[in-house]
């Protein structure tokens, strides 16, 4: 059953943090809440945990309405961005905390608590720091202790707020692979908040992309990446090139290209924007058709499996990003300042809403 969120809204003063949000997280599912800062993702997580109360709407945990239950009665584990370990307690005492504060009737015996803590510390591979204080641990170690502490009370739901946000890139990569493995070992529904699209796409079963208090799209990583619901999702999940134009009866003309846009069959001459990812751009020395764009190479970044090119259109000076394979790059023998022709292999057309501000996300 997992988590069900129905019509949750939350205002802080005049700021609308969440606007009628619906989301369902399946049993044992790992869902990422992805969005820029201020999109409401942390607020939503805190509402699931019971640390904030929604103005409207309800939260169901494992089929039971938990909206009016306190944070301690929801059976959730929460991992804070800055760990929030109890600084005056040892690692052992930190992890044991949730077990020690249980009412006497259901509290485990001291030796059982000790065993459980040691099992958890082994699970997070840190049983050798049991008697240290949080200040004596590295960031990655603290985060794993925070996770062990949250798991001690056997939560049905595990919530993580930017769990790797404060760590350096390498530790972050290691920890997220580890988190995925851990999630597959223990049976909990899991929601984690992140602003890093790579992290969200790599770790989660499904991604919920949020912007200004709304969930824009929910789907598997591949689904949201390949079929973004709107320009925001498209631009948030990676670099994009924009081509402005119009769409009419399923045919779009954006930039200098004619594109089939069957999904806009009913459009009667509306302004539209075409979006292409850098790796969907075809780069060549020769003009490949009347609709190729002429551009100058401004910058070449040859690190990694692909070579990234930054181009400037000759006609309107707009900047385009393109990505080519190393072989192609060598074959074309490209250098900064040279002229090339580019043409998108794939363009997705969205009718542009004049009320929305133009998007320009460069992640």
């Amino acid at each position: 059953m997992g988590i069900e969120i129905h019509g949750v809204s939350k205002k802080f003063g005049t700021f609308e943090a969440l606007k009628k949000v619906d989301l369902t997280v399946g049993d044992r599912e790992l869902v990422a809440l992805l969005g820029p800062s201020g999109s409401g993702k942390t607020t939503l997580l805190r509402i699931i945990a019971g640390l904030d109360t929604p103005d409207t709407g309800s939260v169901l945990l494992n089929g039971e309405d938990a909206t009016n239950r306190g944070a301690g009665e929801r059976g959730v584990g929460f991992v804070f961005q800055h760990y929030a370990l109890f600084r005056h307690m040892t690692v052992m005492e930190n992890v044991a905390f949730g077990l020690r504060v249980q009412p006497r009737q259901i509290r485990k015996s001291k030796s059982d608590i000790r065993d459980r803590v040691m099992t958890l510390l082994k699970l997070v591979q840190l049983d050798w720091v049991a008697n240290r204080y949080p200040a004596q641990l590295s960031g990655g170690q603290r985060q794993r202790i925070a996770l062990a502490r949250a798991l001690a009370v056997e939560p049905k739901v595990l919530l993580l707020d930017e769990p790797f946000g404060a760590l350096d890139a390498r530790v972050r990569r290691e920890l997220r692979i580890w988190l995925r493995r851990l999630h597959d070992e223990i049976s909990v529904s899991c929601v984690f908040v992140t602003h890093d699209q790579e992290e969200a796409l790599e770790v989660s079963d499904r991604v919920a992309i949020m912007d200004v208090g709304r969930i824009e799209q929910v789907g598997t990583p591949q689904n949201v990446y390949d079929n973004p619901a709107n320009p925001f999702v498209f631009s948030f999940l990676g670099n994009v090139n924009l081509f402005h134009g119009r769409v009419k009866e399923g045919k779009a003309r954006v930039g200098d290209f004619d594109v089939d846009a069957p999904e806009h069959r009913d459009a009667s001459d509306s302004p539209a924007v075409g979006y292409s990812r850098p790796h969907e751009m075809e780069v060549s020395r020769e003009r490949t058709g009347s609709d190729s764009l002429s551009a100058t190479i401004v910058q070449i970044q040859a690190v990694g499996p692909n070579v990234k090119l930054r181009l400037k259109r000759t006609d309107n000076e707009d900047v385009l990003d393109a990505e080519v394979t190393r072989e192609k790059f060598r074959e074309l023998d490209l250098k900064v300042g040279e002229s090339v022709f580019v043409k998108p292999r794939l363009v997705r057309v969205f009718i542009s809403d004049p009320s929305e501000t133009p998007l320009n996300y460069q992640i």
Partner: protein, 278 residues
Amino acid sequence: MTGRRRQHAETASGKLIRWLLITVALVFLALFLVTPLIAVFAQALDKGWAGYWEAIRDPETLAAIRLTLIAAAIAVPLNTLFGIAAAWSITKFDFRGKNLLITILDLPFAVSPVISGLIFVLIFGAQGWFGPWLADHDIQIIFAVPGIILATIFVTVPFVARELIPHMQAQGREEEEAALVLGATGLQTFFRVTLPNIKWSLLAGVILCTARAMGEFGAVSVVSGHIRGETNTIPLQVEILYQGFNYVAAFAVASLLTFLGLASLIVKKIVEWKTTET
């Protein structure tokens, strides 16, 4: 070469200025702090230890000490509880009127102690708001022990809260939130998470509060009525002895307060050292 020489000259004059400033500071300290401190003890021991002991053992002085201890024993715990509650609500919750509360908290610092005393005379005095009602029920507050306790509470309100607020603000709410999610009750969260984190600044606040509660003169003087052996606290007793030209006794009693002041400074220093250590 000239540049080098100039630099050398500058450091020489820098040295001079440094020594000058340090000397000025030390002379100033010696003149205005150390000398009076020595004077207090010199005067107190003018007639030797026997005279000192005699002055302290005087029944009126002992009564003053007792009253001071009673006032502090009531005011300090009350203000400790209030200070924790105020600091807790200010730092862990958002509510309307929060800034007003922070401002009002400083009122006893801002208002002259004499005015603080007068406030209670105006409320509970014979001509005050509750004066007739209190007279009818034969309750005396002004010129009696309750008035002294009230005035002491009033002037020492901000100490604990003021000491706790910056510390609790720096610590944030996350540890408490973590405890709550883990199933701890409010009381468990307070005693197991919050209190251990604030214990040193709490101790510092309590010490400052105690020192002020015992040393307060102005406000207490207004509500006391100076009834010998009954409504005199240590500072008031010092004044009475001094005005009765009983210098040795006055300074002997004053030395008790001086000890208290020095002790609280030392303990506060230890506390500060402890808080920076963790």
